[in-house]
């Protein structure tokens, strides 16, 4: 799976997917994320039961493309909605309503708005799914008993072996220095569909 980088194997002979570390508090996780960011890793992520304020800065995440996409698609949808109604009312199926002009823009506003909202909602949902590489059936991290705690009260940082800078011992040392309470290797799932880029 790590096409460009060296493949590490666990003692059982399985491919290594990532090194994951557990942290006790959101604050510890926050500072650990800053350390991983400053160490220059690219393919890693923070897993938490709830949003940690400011974590995107601590992780050094860039502004996502999705809002721009949603805005552009919303405006496109509104324009298309308006154009379609205008075409229907003036060319396609002329209907005299109360003697008002065929192309009266006032009547088109509610539907224009609705189509705009529809496009933004669909772009937001499906754009989010595509960018996150969803849906997928499984994920290597989900095989780890310890990882399941992130849906309750645990905080996990996982640095993936696909990262160009990945070196197991360095990663382990970094996470230990960052205050991890436990560190584990995560085995890759054989024949699993390709994992998406974390960022």
């Amino acid at each position: 799976m790590a096409a460009t980088t060296k493949i590490y194997r666990t003692e059982e002979g399985k491919d290594l997917y990532a090194v994951m570390a557990e942290f006790a508090t959101p604050a510890d996780t926050y500072h650990a994320a800053e350390m991983v960011r400053d160490a220059g890793y690219q393919k890693w992520d923070v897993y938490s039961p709830f949003p940690i304020h400011g974590i995107e800065e601590a992780m050094g995440l860039k502004r996502p493309i999705l809002p721009l996409l949603v805005g552009v698609m919303g405006i496109t949808g509104a324009c298309l909605g308006f154009a379609f109604q205008y075409w229907v009312s003036t060319v396609g199926y002329k209907t005299n309503v109360q003697g008002k002009p065929y192309g009266a823009w006032e009547a088109f506003v509610p539907v224009t708005f609705e189509i705009g909202v529809l496009f933004t909602a669909f772009t937001a949902l499906f754009g989010m799914l595509v960018i996150n590489g969803l849906p997928r059936w499984n994920h290597p991290l989900l095989c780890k008993e310890r990882f399941l705690g992130v849906s309750d009260d645990k905080f996990i940082i996982a640095i993936e072996s696909a990262d160009a800078k990945f070196e197991p011992e360095q990663v382990r040392k970094l996470l230990k220095d960052a205050g991890a309470t436990a560190i584990e290797l995560v085995e890759d799932i054989p024949d699993a569909p390709a994992a998406p880029a974390a960022h």
Partner: protein
């Protein structure tokens, strides 16, 4: 909560040391000093502008009010129209000035009521504008005084003898009569001034005593005040704007008035804060984060204004009943349609597309520029509501109106500018008269830590 905010706080300092300022926002690294050189306006701040605005404002206002009497007309009817033109033009400016006080007053009441911590460092400047509601009220008076001396010259329903020929007026007379009308106006003025004095008073007293319970008192009294404010504002809009064309009626008009005023209030707030920041004040107190949230409110009220004004228009347009559409007909013909479409674009589409960008909302300069732009649009909006009445000459068969020409004159510019300039001039004086933030508010730390997590 405490754990999280503590970590975020540490993180700010960590950044400064590690040299990762590019991750931080504008405003970091500015220590939020409460010293006088940060929380008081510089000595003589804006003096020249203040003098200029007040003198020019009085000159403009006076010239507008007098314009009809000086220019006159060929016959009595033309003379009356000329006077009406001057008064209506002035009324536009006076209502904008009043809105620049009422909007911030509503904002302060809401923020006190919900105990908004982030707004604390901005609240004093909103309070300054709100406390000038007396000035807005006074500026409404000159046309009313002239109207009292010459009944019907400005407020059509007061025309002597009209009640005998106008059936609608006869039906509305229990509401539209002199004693009730003028006592209503007095009630609005008294309620607004009392609320403003009371709520701003708590805040100013806290500056001196530091009594943290004054914040709770302000919150408690904001609760009834917001109800009184909403009702008086709605009825004031009926009496001061809608009743000028008394055949028309709209249940949405009070909300329309409120939306416009809130936008004007937020705009003037942003401009004042940007001016103070460019004078080196409010460092670390009013940051890009606060501008971001104020910008969001501006965006929200831009959309809200468009939503309610379109809803108002749309239902009348669809139903197409003469006594309802007359108001819009007068504003969609004889040149007025250009203003109508200019408002659709300038008051909604353009600010929507600009204010939607986070970078605009976080930029002091850009948001202040949008504030000035929205104030101009608000003036046009009020102009659109009032000014078409002047040349709407005749009422035929009780309901339909004959739309009038635009008849733009210099007094339209001086009328819109005069009261607004006076208001801004006095506001500058007001800004200098007190600390720029409520320095002893117990929620001040919340405002200092304020940050938009995305």
């Amino acid at each position: 909560m405490s754990q999280l905010s503590a970590s975020a706080h540490d993180h700010d300092h960590g950044h400064a040391h590690a040299g990762h300022a590019h991750h931080g926002h504008h405003g970091h690294g500015e220590p939020p000093s409460l010293a006088a050189d940060n929380t008081e306006a510089p000595k003589g701040w804006g003096s020249a502008l203040m003098g200029l605005f007040i003198v020019a404002g009085i000159a403009c206002a006076g010239a507008t009010l007098a314009s009809g009497f000086i220019l006159g007309g060929a016959d009595e009817a033309a003379q009356k129209t000329a006077i009406k033109h001057g008064l209506a033009s002035y009324h536009v400016g006076a209502l904008v000035a009043l809105g620049m006080a009422l909007g911030p007053l509503g904002l302060v009441l809401i923020m006190n009521l919900v105990k908004a911590g982030w707004f604390v460092t901005l609240r004093r400047q909103a309070e300054n504008a709100a406390s000038l509601v007396w000035l807005g009220v006074i500026m409404l008076l000159p046309p009313l005084v002239i109207e009292l001396l010459k009944p019907g010259v400005f407020i059509k329903w007061r025309t002597p003898g009209l009640i005998a020929t106008d059936e609608l007026l006869a039906k509305k007379a229990p509401y539209l009569n002199d004693p009730f009308f003028f006592s209503r106006l007095a009630v609005y003025a008294i309620v607004w001034i009392i609320i403003a004095r009371l709520i701003v008073g708590f805040s100013r007293k806290q500056d001196i005593t530091g009594d943290k319970w004054l914040s709770n008192k302000a919150s408690f009294h904001s609760a009834w005040a917001i109800l009184a404010f909403a009702l008086t504002c709605a009825f004031a809009s009926f009496d001061l704007i809608k009743a000028l064309d008394f055949h028309w009626f709209s249940t949405m008009f009070g909300v329309y008035f409120f939306a416009g005023n809130m936008l004007a209030g937020l705009s003037i707030l942003v401009v004042i804060l940007a001016a103070l920041r460019s004078s080196g004040r409010l460092k670390g107190l009013v940051t890009a984060e606060h501008f971001h949230d104020t910008g969001k409110l501006m965006f929200a009220f831009t959309v809200f204004w468009a939503y309610i004004s379109f809803s108002q228009y749309f239902l009348y347009w669809y139903a197409n009943i003469p006594e309802e559409t007359g108001w819009f007909m007068a504003r969609q013909s004889n040149g007025w349609q250009y203003l109508f479409y200019a408002l659709c674009i300038g008051h909604f589409i353009v600010p929507f597309l600009i204010l939607i960008w986070r970078d605009v909302k976080k930029s002091t300069i850009l948001l202040a520029a949008m504030g000035v732009f929205m104030l101009v649009m608000h003036i046009l909006d009020v102009f659109y509501q009032i000014r078409p009445l002047v040349y709407m000459t005749k009422v035929i068969d009780q309901t339909a109106v004959i739309p009038g020409k635009v008849g733009l004159g210099w007094m339209d510019f001086t009328g819109a500018l005069g009261p607004v300039l006076i208001f801004i001039g006095v506001l500058i004086w007001k800004v200098r008269s007190a600390p720029l933030i409520p320095i002893k508010d117990p929620r001040l730390p919340e405002a200092l830590e304020h940050k938009n997590y995305v």
